[in-house]
Amino acid sequence: MSVVTTTVSHSAVNRSGSSFLRRREVPVGAALLFVLVGTSLSNHRFLSSQGRTDLMLAAAITGMVAIGETFVLLMRKVDLSVGSTLGLAAYVAGSAIKDGGDGQLIKAFAVGIAVGLCVGLVNGLLIALLDLPALVVTLGTLYVVQGIQAKIVGGTRITADRLPGDFVSFGVDRFLGVPKLMWIVLVAGAIASVYLRHMRSGRDLYAVGSNPPASLLAGIPVRWRTLGAYMGCGACAGIAGVLFVARLGGVDANAGRGYELAVIAACVVGGVNIFGGSGTIIGALLGAMLLRSIGFSLSALSIPEFWQQAVNGALLLVAISADRIVTLRRERAERIGQR
């Protein structure tokens, strides 16, 4: 349904030649710019070199998970287990390289991705093969993975002094002024973006999310795509877990708690339709960036930090309400135009 409206509007938009301004990412980007500029005007340290780094590091982890969640949301599914997956991957990857020497970066990522793929495989098999509702399955795996994580972590924690030195510095180092963690997210986002925009199987995700029965009739291997999307989502959460250890230089039993809702909020604010069929990786990343910036901006403006959650929630409501009102108006305009 949403794809139908977007294609219609796109063709109309191309004629009027303002397709860029009509894109869903523009208001999110504008809001982000507004927050960044507005805050730095009143607190010049907000966008100092250190401030920029902190902001990007925080946004990187949410953004990485949001990339994966986008795959799933596009298909009109949802993955609530990403927070637990992030936590488990963080701990397993952290323990795989602790007390070892330098040069284990690849190993950490391989372990993290493997953990993520395993959880994604379980989710995907249950949802794709047995046609189980995604919300129920991933709520179940949220609990199971969280329990497994807490059980293997126990009361212990991995601290920075037991991690290899190059791994810890990787978490804070910069390349061309941007933290290395953010580069990883940007590269992953670029790959995912190209995949969703230009590859046939990537386009399939939009088709399935717009109209699942029709896409099945059109010969799209819906089950394989679902399985693939969940494994991709798991892998992204796994990578995010490694970023988490690198950034914080440690991990305990509570790592990743509550990330799932923050990530879904980021995607939805960035214009990924929670009902499938429309949305972009760029939007999801902008959404993650915006939510994180607001948090940092509040503390830069010395507003108590606990307002952050309320503002994030309100922002999500504003974003989906605005989307809805715009869609309703556009539909009405098109109806009148057809007459």
Binding site: G140, T141, L142, A150, S210, P213
Partner: protein, 351 residues
Amino acid sequence: MKQLNRLQWDKFVPVLVMLTLLVGSFSNEKFLTTSNMTFLIQSIGEIMLIAFSMTFLIIAGEIDLSVSSTAALSSCTLGFVWQHTSNIPLAVLSALAVGFVCGAINGLLVTKLGLQSLAVTIGTLALYRGLCFALLGDNRLTPFPTSFTSLNFKGLFGTWVPYVVVPLVVFGVAFGVVLHATRLGRWVFAIGQSKDAARFVGISVQRTVLAMFITNGLMAGVAGVIYTIRFASARPDGAVGMELEVIAAALFAGVSIFGGVGTMWAVASSVAFLGSIRSLLRLKGANANELTIVTGSLLLVSVVIPAIGVRVSGRRHSRSPLRGALDPAPTGGADLGNRGTPDEPQVLARP
């Protein structure tokens, strides 16, 4: 076939409770003692109260994730008003009013703007929680009068049965009767099957859905008051994650996340079952992490087994020309929310 399986499952859940109590009483002599039962009933009180009204919402094809934040906000309001007016009835009333308003905001956004309830309530989950912190800061309030908090330790008529049984039974019977024996209850099922069809037969879908969200907010408010009494404190980070426990219990009871299917007795039993399993495992020395794994696995099992049953029986009946035609067709309408599509393969099976 799916209907049949679900029907059998919801009759089986009360049996599961009996079995757990039976096995529990044999395997651990501490399990079926009055003190443990008191503790067990208290520990499931808030979850069960919210589960009653959540069942209505899920059957109607909606969902409310904001209940834990609503409960916490009502608890914080109770503390805040008590601190400033020292008037307990006023504090309780304002706590319930907060629940009402929170539910009404959810309901209005869903019905008036036509937004998906999943997205709306993820937003209000964060919003209401943020307001808790805005109200109380990082502190927790504990200066409640003992006449108020000692309610928790008083048994009913001087027995071991905790007072919370009264609201549980009253609300449980009321919600059960409304859902299964009144016209309003039939409407809820009809809305869950198909919102469009319900509208065409003259059901005021919007008003019913709004009323359900408000009721759900109110019940979360009641749960918030009971939570405050139980812990004798109001804290902004109270009841975190309770929404998932409530939804897990409802889904374990066989309430269909796609709407249109579910029973009140199964939900009540399912909360009791999950509570007694947890209590039993805790007595056996399991820690919180193992309990989390068990809850999650039970939830998965409760959907996997019926699904496999449907597959097996579906294969047997796959030649029937009526297959697929009898099941509600997967609509692409935005009303169903983000619930996936249950019946994809059956589209192909149609002649």
